[in-house]
């Protein structure tokens, strides 16, 4: 076993065993017992494959310390309808994903890949998209609308994300967005922005169809970053896409794919650019690179491009000029606690970022106590929400996540009908929605870092053939030899 990016020699004497879990062999993807081990300020996921030998993958490094990054969370399994998409399990997690009855979290987001074609040919594409070409065949809108309705039936009220390939290549995208807008509380577009830059009418059509916001691939503020990650200079195109979205009143979240030594030192510049374009730009959503799909060969045997969740947080805070501090970040209450962090701010007229939660206290309850973020158990007690009279904080994690991103990333359109009767709540809502700016980070798992406990707590799903929901990281999982788990 070589020591590729993110790995260290196996089981040094200083390794401190923390607990057991399950993982996969990074080569053949078979399920294995695994150990979480600490070495100094770094934490590793170690396992032994009978065929391919021992392997240790870095999963955490630095502050906040692994031991203290915790968030109490109640299991909230997917509905029976979603589970029924798997009739039986026979391969074991994660080979049977559908999700199965062993999954512990409901969907909050479902990706719908409406085309495999893409007008970029990124060296780092995890989806292994096909190059766009003249005469490329697209599925007809009627079939795709039917699948939207199936997703609604399987997943319930989730954020629906149009993805691909590059979804703007589909000529009927506005029509599909309009359909999705009637089915889901929020509709998100995952786009490289090329066509949004080229066609101002597209942004206007999508906004008119009810698109909630755009997740715009935005890796940095320099063209050398795009040459490395996307194969060509793209900064002017990204800025044109931002202009067109702004003119169409279409909110944008900047989504950098982060690679150590490539663009992790540009985080401060991306943050400042995003803030300068707020409130049209609603925030940053950072995605440290994983290895899967097409990016396998460009990383294996190459440099260490990995960034763990705490390293990413430290990097953006250090480059923020004092605007952000690590203690502003919270673990998620929806996906597994080690999958993401989020910071939510109010951007003041003077350009300061004020945390929108009280960081002076702990909003999470001690074990056995009731706190302001205690997940609801009204249903468990046999009483409806109406009967218990509880309104605040009794919504499950996935539902809260859907509500929150809807408030934070969609357009700030709160306007009380009668301005003469604005009260303190109205004023707060209007100000907060206009000024909110979020910095979030999602640390996806790959074959080196996959922890099946985390995977079972996943709330981001892909709608996959035939008619099932597969956790995002399982869907995109590739072994180091290129074999794929679900794609």
């Amino acid at each position: 076993m070589n020591t590729d990016a993110g790995q260290v020699p196996y089981s040094t004497p200083s390794a401190l065993f923390l607990y057991e879990t399950r993982s996969l062999c990074p080569i053949c993807l078979q399920s294995l017992p695994a150990r979480i081990e600490r070495r100094g300020d770094a934490v590793f996921l170690s396992r032994d494959c009978p065929e391919h030998g021992p392997f240790s993958g870095l999963i955490w490094k630095g502050e906040p310390d692994f031991a203290f990054w915790k968030r109490p969370r109640q299991d909230c399994p997917p509905s029976a309808g979603a589970q029924n998409s798997v009739e039986r399990t026979n391969k074991g997690c994660p080979g049977d994903c559908g999700p199965c009855f062993g999954h512990t979290q409901s969907p909050c987001t479902v990706l719908f890949e409406i085309t495999r074609y893409c007008n970029l040919n990124c060296p780092v594409c995890f989806a292994s998209a096909l190059p766009a070409e003249a005469g490329m065949e697209m599925e007809n809108a009627g079939e795709l609308k039917e699948r939207l309705r199936r997703i609604r039936a399987l997943a319930g009220e989730v954020v629906l994300q149009f993805s691909g390939g590059e979804p703007t290549l589909h000529p009927d995208l506005p029509e599909l967005v309009r359909e999705a807008n009637g089915l889901f509380p929020a509709v998100q577009l995952n786009s490289n922005g090329l066509l949004l830059a080229e066609k101002p009418d597209l942004a206007r059509a999508l906004a008119a169809a009810g698109l909630s916001w755009v997740f715009l691939q935005f890796d940095g503020t320099r063209d050398d970053i795009y040459r490395r990650l996307r194969g060509r200079p793209l900064l002017d195109i990204k800025l044109a896409a931002l202009r067109n979205c702004r003119e169409a009143n279409l909110p944008v979240v900047l989504v950098p794919t982060l690679a150590k030594g490539v663009n992790d030192q540009d985080l401060g510049n991306i943050l400042r650019l995003g803030l300068s374009l707020a409130p049209g730009v609603r925030g940053l959503h950072l995605q440290p690179m994983t290895i899967s799909g097409r990016n396998l060969p460009c990383l294996i045997g190459g440099e260490n491009l990995d960034l763990t969740l705490p390293e990413t947080l430290q990097a953006i805070c250090a480059q923020s000029g004092g605007l952000m501090r690590p203690e502003h970040a919270s673990p998620p209450g929806c996906e597994h606690e080690r999958c993401s962090f989020h910071c939510r701010y109010r951007l003041t007229p003077t350009g300061q970022l004020v945390p929108m939660r009280d960081t002076g206290g702990d909003c999470c309850p001690a074990p056995g106590k009731t706190g302001c973020c205690t997940l609801g158990n009204a249903e468990e007690s046999g009483k409806s929400r109406e009967e218990t009279g509880r309104v605040l904080s009794d919504r499950p994690g996935a539902r809260r996540a859907v509500d929150l991103v809807g408030m934070v990333w969609s357009a700030p359109d709160h306007s009380p009908a009668d301005k003469e009767k604005i009260d303190a709540f109205d004023a707060f809502i209007a100000e907060a929605r206009a000024q909110v700016f979020s910095v979030t980070c999602m640390a996806f798992q790959d074959c080196r870092t996959v922890d099946l406990e985390r995977l079972r707590g996943c709330c981001v799903f892909v709608y996959a053939h035939p008619d099932r929901l597969v956790p995002f990281c399982a869907y995109n999982m590739s072994g180091l030899d290129g074999r794929s788990l679900h794609r």
């Binding site: 919270s330 998620p332 209450g333 929806c334 989020h342 929108m356 939660r357 009280d358 002076g360 206290g361 909003c363 999470c364 302001c372 973020c373 309104v391 605040l392 904080s393 994690g397 809260r400 996540a401 509500d403 929150l404 991103v405 408030m407 709160h414 009380p416 009908a417 009668d418 003469e420 009767k421 604005i422 009260d423 303190a424 709540f425 109205d426 707060f428 809502i429 907060a432 929605r433 909110v436």
Partner: protein, 70 residues
């Protein structure tokens, strides 16, 4: 938005504890480090405050969503 400030009425409500009629009076509401001063039906004698259902499920819920953690 279900509830507007102007729709909140104290008329017709009486305090279950002492029987006094409720009146629209200032109330301080605090949640996760933010505070809001609004007028709500209250009992001048006991201090009990009525939060109408529309307000709880409307503006207050929206405020909660903005303040609470993901």
């Amino acid at each position: 938005m279900k509830a507007e400030a102007g729709e909140i009425r104290a008329e017709g409500w009486t305090c279950a504890s002492c029987g006094s009629p409720l009146e629209l009076l200032p109330a301080d509401i605090a949640y996760m480090g933010s505070s809001f001063q609004v007028e709500l039906p209250r009992c001048r004698k006991c201090g009990f405050t009525l939060i109408p259902q529309d307000l709880a499920e409307g503006k207050m819920l929206e405020v909660e969503k903005l303040l609470e953690d993901k």
